[in-house]
Amino acid sequence: MNSNPLAEVLDGQHAADLRKAARALLKQPLLLARGRYADEFRLVRRHASELREWFDRNTGWSLQTDAEAARLRKIPGVLSDPTHPARDATRAAAPFTRRRYVLLCLALAALERGEAQIALGRLADQVVLDAADPHLARAGIQFTLDRRDERLDLAAVVRLLLSLGVLRRVAGDEEAYVSGAGDALYDVERRVLAGLLAARRGPSTVHAEAFADRLAELVAETALDSDELRFRAMRRSLTRRLLDDPVLYYDELTDAELGYLTRQRGFLTARITELTGLVPEVRAEGIAMVDPDDDLTDVRMPEQGTHGHVTLLLAEYLAASDAPLTTHQLGLRVRDLAAEHGGFWAKSAREPGMEAELVEQAVARLAALGLVSRTAHGVAPRPALARYAVGEAVVLEPGTSRMPAQRKASKP
């Protein structure tokens, strides 16, 4: 269509920018105009209308952009995945606990009612007031915030809000508050706060009592009373899973979904490839949209470092076994592996008694990637784990054959 080389270059540039913007949003559904992701934000803003249309049509996710923030209100394709917890904004990135989740929501409720600025001490007071709600008391939640560990919890919540851009620190710091020596002052970014909830319905309008019903109602679409609407809902939910999740296994789908996917697979994956550059890996058991750029993910495999290495070695062990393995068996395996490879591991990982923790980390990582599943008796490999076949690669001699080019410098 474009015979003119300049137009071609511009088209290519446009497509590349659009892809970058889409990937940035998938990686970070809330992008702020200032801070680390300012470049990505600008890119998204520039392509906002195209992205908005794509996401709305294919996933039903709405994209909101203004001068301060861009927010893709993602709804997961499956509601049963527990491997995306809220995490501390510290290096340790520990998953949130029950108390922290509750504190987070109470803090958000207080911010929502509050002024444009708030001090941590004042926020704490309001949270304590809200926590007196009889429903919370019945569930056994109580905050007085005069114990140090409670204040640590609140500080962790505030740090998460700071990292999300809901709060901006003006003066003081959380440490001083935790130790009881001082206070901190924040600006409240009301527009970021306003876009924080992604659910289709406000939770306060949901009256279901069972947990699963509550989740389902949060994201419920309007009545699907025509074939066209049902197909659209299916297309959206399948696209969501392909866009977000590492592997889509056919055995998790309903018959209707499987039928639709079988018919529309080429179309669905082509749309995703066009936007994101992800490549479909279609196998008998399912589809994985794999990433040649290796950065559209929060969990990597294979990965460097002690935990990455242990994960890789245990994956090899699990892939080779036909039956589920117990965590005890995996622990024993780690002990053997430590004898062989321990020299490369962090010192703390070689200490006796660390096996259970190493196994837990590795299994969590493999489970998050859809490569294993936890069962009542242990850990079962899932089909996609076979794509690594770690052992066989060793036959390659350094410098003689093609090497995986991913994420590494040239061979020595």
Partner: protein, 520 residues
Amino acid sequence: MTATTISREPLPYGFSPFAHLTVQNTDLYRQVMGAFVVAKERFAVHLRPEDVYTALPAEVRPPDLDALVKALESLVGWGNLRADPDTARVTAVEDFYRKRFIYQLTRAGEAAEEALGVYDDALGRRGALQAVALHDIITQLRALLVLAAEEQPDRAKIHLALDVLASRFAALADNARAFMGSLQQTIDLHDVGEEVFLAYKDRLIQYLERFIQDLITLGGRIARLILELEDAGRIEPLLRAAAAREAADASPEEADHAEGEAYQRWYGRWTGLAAWFISREGRESQARLLRGRALGAIPQLLAVVRSLNERRAGRSDRSADFRTLARWFAEAPDDDARHRLWRTAFGLYPARHLTVDAGTLAARAALPVPTATPWADAEPLRISPQLRRTGSYERRGRPRRVESREESRRRLAEVAAKQAAETAAARARLVTDGITRLSGLGELDPASFGLFLQLLGDALATWRPGMRHTVATSNDGSMGIRLSALADGGTAEIRTAGGAFRGPDHLIEIIDLTDGGEDR
């Protein structure tokens, strides 16, 4: 209908002409009075009921003439109108038997209307600052300058010029006050309906832009003229002359101090005018305050828009939403459930994908794997043996250094500062200090010449066929130029480093609007 006897007793306190405001049918009464006021402006003193009837707008017009006559009689009763027997010829018998009156405004009624007019004005006025007033002030100040230069200025002319100046200025100051007041009202619009606000917003912003522009361009010129008049005490004799003329009318017993008082009055007005346009002795000029106020109003308006948007965005009560979520998190059966709830409600999770390397991709492109192949049977992804053995890839090259742009940024800042200084210097060199000939400019350095060309361009852009004289302000409002064509057909030449610039000679005056008179 027969006329009833009308009580002419005034209500207590003597404010009965306002009584029609507090009874039923106030609208009709006010419209009727309005018709009389309009008629009076056209020098029609008496009105018949039929005249009033046709003058009324359709929506308040009573169904028949009798109802109107009744209203007129009530107004007569309150003392707003006077009724006189109508002696005109009639053409119908029943008209003859009807008691007929013609009506006119009483003095009390007229005064009440005036008072109500002021009241409406004060409440209804949004405030406006007319550029016209500013232009008039400039004209009068120029006239005063000319008068001050005369040997024997005409007292009457001086008085007239000062009088016009004072009245235009009073109008301007009134408007400005109303304007400031209405700005505050606008900013307090937080509570009004959304549509009202949004409709008003665009108009206000447009108006503010025009207003600021007027004030900057014209205000600077006025300030300069004022300074010029005050320079070497030129204004004082003018004020004295005006005072003397005014005092000439004073009665014999007042004659002694009348002139002194009149002078004080004129002096006060003059200082008021000067204080309006020039900041001095640590007090900011009114014009500057206004400008700041107008500029400040824009972000405040935007804040209102933002709060409206937030209000609109909140469909359900989000605070309640968050409290509900807190309860759900507390009631969730286990940590996994809580993580699922977090993911579903907040949707802040990143996408997660397996990776593939270029080699594997290329191999697959060459030899596609059938889609029915199980994962276990397909060619696997190859893992670096080094990674498998040691847990890390081969030695990595040093990370690319992040380029520091600090240096270039500083250089840019320096260049910008230098350019600004050069422009200021060029501007200073270009100012002509009075009227001169183009040919008298002589030699210009490149910076000044560039600026001069721009200014000349701005001036010539206003030039129309047949014009002998033009005044223009540079695009950035920093300089003014006055250009008059000369009849002698001479040629001007301006030498620059890059060559000579030639053209027909003109009279030229270049004024720097940014220094001196302009308050900055």
